[in-house]
Symmetry: C2
Subunit: 467 residues, 2 copies
């Protein structure tokens, strides 16, 4: 029998070609649509049986609403609640309305606790009560506990099933224990945790090391070099940072008595990272959530508050311009040039802001190096200010044949980019200190400052020296 | 002996308190600084011996440059190359210059191939040659092969050590095999792969299932329901999507003959997700990379190209305003109000753009639903346009006591928000079709359009009807 264990042989580079077809999801939607339209319900069911719940969610999401309903009718009692965890909010809500909540609770028995918590937290209160009432008593207690932890905390994220054995055991004892408790094992686990007689966490043994060790080896001798414990109240973003920094696959969650009460695995963390990534990007773009499948009306509603804030700052900027009405009436070139200083300030400030928001999120920018980075960014603002002052001065002098106007716009540019650099870093730092998410509010405060100050400096200097 | 295996007992909620101290990194920097300044070199070494390489990298990054050099001198020959993989670019380059590349190659033997590839790809050509020459012959071949795969491909990401056994084996055979090949096992692995006699991938068995099964169980009967293979040329972002969607911890990488040539584990994917997240955020903010530790001059240089692009679009907007010089001279209120329409267009467009860029990245927005989403976003733009048209009309009429001016700015607002909604979704889609990263160029194209069209519509309508 020929078996290759470690591929160490050089491979032929010519062999390497194709990339997997990524648009397979739209093909399955077409296929299912076709089956449904032709009433081939058995084909649908046998097709769905072989694919992952994430793919079923994809199909549900992209089906025509009428066909979606008939698909749900066909699946009926066999609906796997895990599918719901893969759906976008709007489609999930729509589907839950058509489901029998009792049946759903019944089907949820196959899920890990953390997934059930995930599911329960998104149900409306009335549905949540029915759902919880119909779970097994033991599971219900665990789920209710999970729901008591703050949203986005390690407690919400952890699964309650984990494997922990006494630190005095050896490899053979651990393996036998696992084999004898097969039905109770969590669906996914990658480490076993060692505990002392007080159930305190004492070490982590990766399964790979366990597998590679003889039966008589002490578990204590094959633990990871470091033991990293996660307090149950830790924010999920900090959990993600920890997993990322140290390349963890799972970590024990402890209460304040250092007792292990759960386990977080990396697949949950990957989801958190994706979630936080989305959040940061969306907030910086002035959108509080995104759901491609949401209706026009509710999408419009969700966008409007941000636009109202923006309208107010735009009106404030206009009021500032209004202060210099007389100057603009005399020199119309001011009106033509004034957006340039404001726009450059907004852009330079946004660059700094983006770097700052990201550095705060990954904890690279902290109180200890804040002064250094503020100085650096203000300096960069100043240098860019000088460079672009020269360029815009030359352009303005050539355009309007007015030396003084060129000097004034140059000076305004330097001042505004200095302010932009300084504000770009100080605003998110201050917001972070005030426990306001820097990604959310920084951009609008920054552009208000750079707009107002951009118009103010340019038109103000012009009024002083030109008029 | 009391052993708790599955924590199913309800826990006391009062027990849950504290969150881990997150600012421990600045404390270690202070400690090491203190040791170094007082020449307590033995203390430094024994302190570093007990902490993770990621933490050592943190310390190096935040130390004063002079102390950093003396720390490197103290560590000297024992420098673990893995530390380099945790450093930001600028600090890494600085440190590599002080290191003996031969020694580094020698120390790299303890690393997994994928980490060595990671390290080698960042070295300058001259250093890379020396580095590769000083690796073991076998390792060198693997690393050189790794470097031949396209950047950001699965081939760069995969590790070459993995565990694959014949599909006809049973659990006992697999466990014995692992025990007998302990030294050759990869540092981290969570699944073993099943292969047929042609070395083609045939199944994945999670270690957890292997551990929970009796020795005589066939491996074939405990595989994951689905087998997901990654082509070696797949883009790393697609790999990340796959891991995230299906909650994978590891997956076999295959060549075009379906032979397994490597394995990607979730810790690498977490890094990719963080990397791509950073990239998207930075690009949308007009920054091409971020490195808090980079010098002022090189940071300024890296920011300037984006600002030049922005200056050009700002000048274009000014030229448009210049076309309406006569109108502004007559009605100075136009100059005061004109930034509002442009600014609202930019903001509404950015909202749509952000949603679109993100939906394209996660492949929710595809050719198959593009028309639907374009229609939806344009409609949202129209609705918001009408709402804000009414508000800004009322403000303008009240402010300038001019009914016609109010109607004109309202009409311009509707037109610009329609254009903004449409452009916000069409620009990233078109860029994506043209294989240009939508996150990079969308924002500047969008604001150019909304600025130019904002000024054009408002001042143009004013010239037609007001002057």
């Amino acid at each position: 029998m020929e078996v290759q264990v470690f591929s160490a042989a050089p491979i032929d580079m010519n062999e390497i070609i194709i990339k997997k077809d990524q648009d397979s999801s739209s093909k399955s939607v077409e296929l299912v649509t076709d089956y449904l339209e032709n009433y081939k319900y058995d084909n649908v069911l046998s097709y769905l049986k072989d694919i992952h719940n994430a793919d079923i969610a994809d199909i549900l999401q992209n089906l025509d609403p009428v066909l979606r309903l008939s698909l749900l009718n066909i699946i009926d009692k066999d609906f796997d609640p895990e599918i719901l965890t893969y759906l976008n909010d709007s489609v999930r809500e729509e589907i839950i309305e058509t489901l029998d909540i009792k049946q759903l609770a019944n089907n949820a028995k196959s899920l890990d606790t953390d997934d059930v918590v995930d599911l329960a937290e998104d149900l409306e209160e009335k549905d949540q009560t029915i759902f919880l009432e119909n779970l097994d008593k033991e599971e219900r207690t665990l789920v209710e506990e999970g729901l008591m932890y703050p949203e986005d905390s390690a407690g919400r994220l952890m699964q309650r099933q984990f494997v922990a054995v006494n630190q005095s055991w050896n490899v053979g004892q651990a393996i036998d224990y696992l084999r004898n408790n097969k039905v109770k094992l969590p669906e996914d686990f990658y480490d076993i945790y060692l505990i002392n007689n007080n159930q305190e966490a004492k070490g982590v043994v990766p399964l790979g090391k366990l597998m590679g060790s003889k039966r008589e080896i002490e578990l204590n001798s094959i633990t990871n070099k470091e033991l990293r414990l996660i307090d149950v109240n830790t924010d999920q973003e900090d959990v993600a940072l920890l997993f990322n920094k140290y390349g963890l696959v799972s970590a024990p969650v402890i209460n304040n008595k250092k007792k292990i009460i759960g386990s977080i695995t990396v697949d949950d963390v990957v989801e958190v990272i994706e979630e936080e990534r989305e959040e940061d990007i969306l907030k910086l773009g002035g959108v509080d959530h995104t759901d491609l499948y949401e209706s026009v009306i509710s999408t419009t509603k969700s966008r409007i508050s941000w636009l109202i804030v923006n309208l107010m700052t735009a009106v404030v900027a206009s009021i500032v311009i209004g202060l210099f009405e007389a100057a603009i009436e005399k020199v119309v070139a001011l009106a033509i040039l004034m957006p340039i200083v404001a726009s450059m300030g907004a852009n330079a400030g946004t660059q700094t802001l983006t770097v700052a928001v990201r550095a705060i999120a990954v904890k690279e920018l902290t109180t200890s190096n804040a002064i250094k980075i503020i100085t650096k960014e203000t300096l960069i603002g100043g240098i860019n200010g000088i460079i672009f002052a020269i360029i815009i001065s030359l352009i303005s002098i050539y355009w309007f044949d007015n030396m003084l106007l060129g000097l004034i716009i140059g000076l305004a540019m330097i001042l505004n980019l200095l302010i932009a650099g300084f504000s770009g870093i100080v605003i998110p730092l201050v917001l972070d200190k005030l426990k306001i998410d820097p990604a959310l509010a920084s951009a609008v405060i920054l552009t208000t400052i750079t707009d107002v100050f951009g118009f103010l400096s340019f038109l103000g200097l012009a009024t002083l020296f030109l008029i």
